[in-house]
């Protein structure tokens, strides 16, 4: 391809916006899941420095996420479009059987799109679309943990119009409202042993049906939940070499309305003998157990529990507070350090309300607020090529007893490498690689119950992340 002479700015803008918009539409629907509930890889430039950059962002409009105060000083229109491909691997090893089951996740793209426009040297506006919270975990349906969830996803798409203003020579502020669109999905296998006999309070488990006898496959989906919040940032040039930055993203509560659907799984358990004697009350003599259960899936049976029905739930996307400093060590080397606090305690419990009230369940999550430290460095190798690297540590949010197949997380150490290349005045490319190493953690594949160990095995997890962002300066 040969370079043509650059057309005037007003001719280029519509085409670029249209292209970016099309790419976003192609990327976002139902693939915009990301592993790890918090996804910080919202731009490949900052990703290369392990996410450190609240004090010194990249001039690629990703400031909208990394510090909304930093848009000031931008010239003309800047559009960044990119994606982070998250290839997660993990496994669970059962204490007793010693069997290891692997996570089935395929690589997941987490896209981002930013556009900014410099109105004047002191004022800039922008619009960003990113997915700072998301998770996807896929396990085999025959996995013991499938009773907790085997194909699960949460995605929260943030749309943020942003204004940034240079208050003084050294201080800029910025911010904007966030419009959040949330989708959630939980696929679970249901355990017959925990379900009461029809018309009784006695559970099938109490009459001997083995633990984790699958009898139903349930899919719970909620999409299009909308919530509102805000994002504020400030950046201070303390000296010629030292800058400080801070940003705060408010928590956003999302109320989901959705549908639960069920499919019967044959248990293969033969006839249950007449239990009148032991139950002390008349009990139907079941032709076969599966035939009895089939009635619970029959939409024309008014009392059937496991029929398509409405569900409701709420989740709160936590707040983020980031404080950081950057130092220009030399003309070419910049060192950065960020501290991040995330209000994961907002994620305390999830109540799934079913139309059939008997099915309503509350999962205790009891997450703790977390701290993270990001250390990054950026080195200008030439005027056009920049090298980046970083290290990041973040704490686990989940307490021991809720380390489940849904999100088997723990303290994590990450290292990153990145490169930026200003190909032309018009196009900048940034690429980054991140290795996410997670300490092994004990967890469970079963519901919590007094008299049963809280954990029954070991989760291992790690991920490779690849980021690529193209920035167009118009």
């Amino acid at each position: 391809m040969t370079h043509r002479s650059t057309p005037p700015y007003w001719k280029r803008l519509p085409a670029a916006v249209a292209l970016a918009g099309l790419m976003l539409v192609l990327l976002i629907p139902d693939t915009a899941r990301a592993q790890g509930f918090g996804v910080y890889e919202q731009g490949s430039c900052v990703m290369g420095r392990a996410g450190a950059g609240v004090a010194t962002t990249c001039n690629d409009a990703s400031d909208i996420f990394f510090n909304p105060a930093a848009l000031t000083g931008t010239n003309g229109t800047t559009i960044s479009l990119g994606t982070t491909l998250i290839a997660a691997g993990g496994s669970f090893t059962d204490d007793i059987t010693r069997q290891t089951t692997d996570l089935q996740n395929s690589p997941i793209p987490a896209p981002h799109l930013y556009a900014s426009y410099g109105v004047s040297p002191d004022l800039a506006v922008g619009l960003g679309v990113f997915v700072p919270y998301g998770l996807a975990t896929e396990w085999d349906r025959t996995f013991d943990g499938a009773f907790e969830g085997y194909d699960n996803s949460v995605e929260s798409i943030y749309i943020q119009p942003t204004v940034s203003y240079q208050l003084t020579d050294r201080i800029s502020v910025g911010g904007g409202p966030t419009i959040v669109i949330g989708n959630v999905e939980l696929n679970q296998v249901a355990d017959l042993s925990s379900v009461p006999l029809p018309g009784s309070e006695i559970t099938f488990g109490e009459i001997g049906v083995p633990f984790h006898t699958a009898f139903a496959d349930s899919k719970l989906e909620g999409s299009g939940a909308t919530g509102f919040g805000g994002h504020l940032g400030v950046q201070v040039e303390a000296t010629d070499r030292i800058r400080l930055g801070a940003r705060f993203l408010t928590p956003v509560k999302l109320d989901y309305e959705g549908t639960a659907t069920f499919e019967q799984i044959e248990t293969g358990i033969p006839t249950i003998p007449p239990l009148n004697d032991i139950l002390g009350q008349p009990v139907t003599i079941f032709p076969t157990l599966d035939a009895l259960l089939a009635n619970q899936f029959n939409p024309s049976n008014e009392d059937a529990l496991f029929v398509e029905q409405d569900i409701e739930t709420s989740l709160t996307m936590p707040a983020q507070l980031v404080l950081g400093v950057s130092v220009d060590a030399t003309d070419r080397l910049t060192l950065m350090a960020d501290y991040q606090w995330t209000s994961w305690s907002d994620f305390d419990e999830i109540t799934l309300e079913f139309e059939r009230e008997e099915l309503t369940q509350t999962r205790q999550e009891n997450y703790s607020n977390t701290n993270a430290v990001r250390l990054g460095a950026e080195y200008a190798l030439t005027d056009a090529v920049t090298l980046r690297g970083g290290y990041l540590f973040n704490e686990a949010a989940a307490p021991d007893e809720v380390v489940t197949p849904l999100l088997p997380e723990n303290d994590r150490n990450h290292v990153t490498l990145g490169v930026g290349w200003q190909t032309t005045d018009f196009l900048q490319l940034n690429a980054a690689y991140q290795y996410l190493g997670q300490n092994d953690r004990r967890g469970r594949t079963r519901g919590l119950a007094e008299g049963r160990p809280d954990t029954n095995g070991l989760y291992s997890f790690d991920a490779h992340l690849f980021g690529l962002t193209a920035t167009l300066s118009l």
Partner: protein, 404 residues
Amino acid sequence: MFTLRSRHLTLFLGLLVGSMLLLAGCDDDTLTPPPVEDELFDRYVSLGNSITAGFQSNGISPATQQAAYPVLLAEQMGTAFNAPLLNAPGCPPPITNPLDSADAGNGDDVVCALRDTPLPAQVNNTAVPGAAVNDLLNVGQGSNSNVLTQLFLGGRTQVETAVAAQPTFVSMWIGNNDVLGAALSGQVSEANVTSVDDFTSDYTEALDALEDAGAEGGVLYGVADPTLIPHFSAGAAYFALEDEINAAGTALSSAWGSFDVDASCSPAQQGTTTLVPASYGLFSLFATALAGEDVTLNCADDARVLDGGEITLLKERVAAYNQFIQTEAQNRDWAFIQTNAVLQDLRDADDIPPFPNFQDPEAFFGSAFSLDGVHPSSSTHQLIANETVDAINAQYGTSLQPVE
């Protein structure tokens, strides 16, 4: 200028490599469970009947389930082991006095307590009271399934339940019920004891399935000779103790009738060649006399008394089963327990009395057996566990410690 740059670059890359090395190698032994005594015992399952399930004194409760020999053995192995525990008082609750019909649980409406929850993830003790060898592989119609089969296995067979627990080590003590029912009824014939062919084919199929499921070792127990258990007493014992039986009856009930022992039960006639099950001599005849009737035990005519021919058939059949079981154990390099040698020792030591002890209803059938005279007491379960420890150590070179 270039030198300065590359020095920074070197420092920067050095820091990166250093932090990567920090991430490597974070194995932590505290995250995995402590190893069991020997890998062989990683997952132990037991199959069997009422004895293995922990049935005692005509009942089964969580306490008797936990006193069963496989539970004791698993503790010595240091391996996780789940019995299908019932709620208290059990199903049915064990009796506490064999001569008192209004015993624990019977007075209540509670006929059967259900399973304790939360359920264990795996059931390791798959034994079910009443199970004969064909019940290892069958459940429901045509089998000896009962309420406890449902409560313990939930519709699966013993072998299916055992295979689901992915056993590395297996114990199996089955076959007693293939002859015991006939012995207790006093009507022993080819028609109501399991044929050797049927026995061996079911037994082999069960063992093959367990080995296919990954079992690397195991222990097999010989079938108990019913004539050795304290539930059976010689006709001559009744004959010798006729006065004591009547004295005990008078002491227990003001309505006492009389208990006559016919001369056919004397040592001179058929007293030493017949066996009277307690279910007949005591829980039927004696109980009837307690209600005021006059009863007579006749060793020549009473259908429920085992005669010489019936006793011979029982002993020969048990010997044939045990010959086969011992050969199976040898062929598979598994351990084997001579159950009847243990019982004979208990007889010789008088821990199995020749006749029930009316003076001590709490040890009515002696210290080695529970109050039904059929099922071993907790002390005998410990003895069996220790016999098993010795047999396993001898077979596999392991160093399991005896139960203290």
